[in-house]
């Protein structure tokens, strides 16, 4: 096996004449938590489906866990699709065991592990309950457990947080981290930045079928300048003279504070000017932009509005 759990080069998918995915490259390091971010309709799900071999690409190549054909790695992969689906008449533990059996796990082992996983997730009481009697969130958790019951080397989750309440979102984050700690690679798509920011070692941002960014969360955030918040000791309009040109007063007119983008050369020269002019420093904070701002910057506000 190579160091990359997933690699894709120039993936293309056409739906009719429309290029839904247009030359996407991905390299997911083994053992990492990797996020695929993008607005609705960006091509995230189609990309994941091509990586898994559910649909065939119209161009490019991909490999999964070192296998050129994704099917050859299917027993070592766990998958939670965007559209959740379980057989309503199945019991929870049977549903989990069935999903394990599809990936080569013996039924008896699957049932035993299913009970353990359900208990660990706080759903031990529901092991013998039919899926149709579970709440939507519980059923979603059951499906997630079904995707990890065979202890896969690669876990692919398509929009795993959608439809979950905050408690279950937290459980899911814990489960993703636990899978990574077990040694698995986790690849998930989302358009909720907070999860990606907390979890991802690396991420790719896709928009309009193209990959717009690839790197760490810090790399993404580093694409935008930090924001400086400054409060002089003696407020006054003359403070602006010593500040960069983009400085704006904070809040309502007459407020004491100012904010401006971190100058490319750093904050030191600005501070020297302020002190020499006698404005003093009552408060100073440097706020790094979040992934959300970086995402909006990368994808473009117009593309986001079009997606919505």
């Amino acid at each position: 096996m190579t160091d990359a759990a997933v690699s894709a080069s120039g993936l293309v998918k056409l739906f009719g004449d429309r290029r839904v995915v247009d030359g996407v490259d991905l390299l997911v390091p083994a053992g990492a938590i990797y996020g695929v971010l993008g607005p609705n309709g960006a091509g995230k799900t189609t990309t994941l489906r091509m990586l898994l071999g559910i649909i065939e690409p119209d161009g490019g190549s991909r490999s999964l866990l070192g296998e050129a054909h994704p099917r050859d790695a299917s027993d070592r992969v766990g998958y939670l699709p965007e559209e959740r689906g379980l057989y309503p008449a199945m019991k929870a533990k049977e549903a989990i065991a069935f999903m394990g059996a599809l990936r080569g796990l013996a039924w008896a082992t699957g049932r035993r592990r299913a009970v353990q996983l359900l208990e660990r997730a706080g759903l031990g009481h529901a092991a013998d309950t039919k899926i149709r009697k579970l709440s939507k969130g519980m059923a979603q958790l059951v499906q997630l457990l079904g995707s990890v019951v065979h202890e896969p080397d690669l876990l692919v989750l398509d929009e795993p947080f959608s439809g979950l309440d905050p408690v279950n979102q937290e459980r899911l984050e814990a489960l993703i981290l636990a899978e990574r700690d077990r040694g698995a690679t986790v690849l998930f798509s989302t358009h909720v930045m907070a999860h990606a920011e907390r979890l991802c070692d690396r991420l790719a941002i896709i928009s309009g079928g193209k990959r717009r960014f690839e790197g760490t969360v810090n790399d993404a955030r580093g694409m935008l300048p930090a924001r400086v918040h400054y409060t002089p000791q003696r407020p006054g309009a003359e403070v602006a003279v010593a500040l960069p040109h983009d400085a704006r007063p904070e809040g309502t007119a007459g407020a004491a504070g100012w904010h401006f983008e971190m100058p490319p050369e750093g904050i030191e020269q600005v501070l020297v000017r302020l002190i020499e002019a006698g404005h003093g420093i009552a408060g100073l904070s440097i706020e790094r932009p979040g992934l959300h701002e970086a995402f909006v910057q990368i994808v473009g506000r117009d593309a986001l509005e079009a997606a919505q």
Partner: protein, 410 residues
Amino acid sequence: MSRFRRTVRQTMTIARRDFVATVFTPIFLLFLFAPMIFGAIGGTVGGLSASSMAGNKDRARVVAIVAPEHARAMADADTRLRAVFRRDETPPLLTTLAPAADPAEQAREAFAAKDFEASAVLYGPLDRPIVLYSGLGSRTADYLGVLAGQTLAAEKLGSALPAVSVTKTRFTRPRGAAPNGRNPSAFFAVFGIFFLTLFLSGQVVGTMAEERSNKVVEVLAAAVPLESVFLGKLLGMFGVAVLFVAFWGTIVGNIGALMPPSLARELGSVAPATGTPAFGILFACYFTTAYLLLGSVFLGVGAQATTMREIQLLSLPITFGQMAMFGLSAAAVAQPDSWIATFAEVFPLSSPFAMAGRAANRAEIWPHLLAIGWQLLWVGLFITVGARLFRRGVLQSGSARPWWKRAPAS
């Protein structure tokens, strides 16, 4: 694990799920006992109809207006002739009436009699009788004509009527020596397989609909090749069909032990050309391939349907298709060496039926091995095409384009 072993394992996982999900439900009991339920309903309705018809039959008569001196001889001739008929084919009972002043008028009035229902009425001299008949009484009119002739012959010859003593000995025709190459078991084979597949293989039409409505199809498609999903579903439902056949086979087999010896002997004499054990094995093989062939077509077609209404609409053309294959195969076994027979044996959807008929008509085994291989090839083809259509239509994806059509990144 090799790709083949993994595929087999995945296929059997799907088959197991479908089998368990179908069999361990209360609805399955209804399905299993459906023949009994419908048989009971049919029997009750049929019994009521039969008793009503029997009442009518008890009152039906053939009437002969003959002089009293002929009546005795005619009754004797009627007794002799009646013995030739099967019970359900015997003519109505004979009633003789002495001629009135106007026998023609008397004959017409006989149809209006209140104590019996005349089917046909004979009057006039026995060597030139006139027979009136009503409705469907043409054959009973013929019978009265023959009866008149027999009566005259008996009267003329009297005690000189030669007594014939018949020795009846059962003869079993040598195996494979059926006249014109036709064997009665051929039609039984064709009908048997048709009957079983008619009931069972149509069930697979809607099985993919479950996955689509539950959105499980994406989970399956990610883990298992769609061809395995299709084959697994087919095998799962075939398991259900085998259970159904085994259940009813056991019941019918035990009822067979209670059947009258004459009927059992009659059935025992139906000897297929390949011999009973080989024929039994071939019948099972052809039932399997017929199920898989029709099932794979139905599964593939049904998988393209998007709603239950569309699936229900498909059942009519499917039944017509099955009827057409039955008709073609029945024609093939009736004309074993004709081009129809060859066509039916080669055409994949009729091949199992026609070849089962051939197993009854001809002793060679090798064409069957060839045919089973040919039929399984088509099962594979139908499943592949069905899965590809499903992938294209439902998963919104065609197969990978050939390299010369592959799209580069823009």
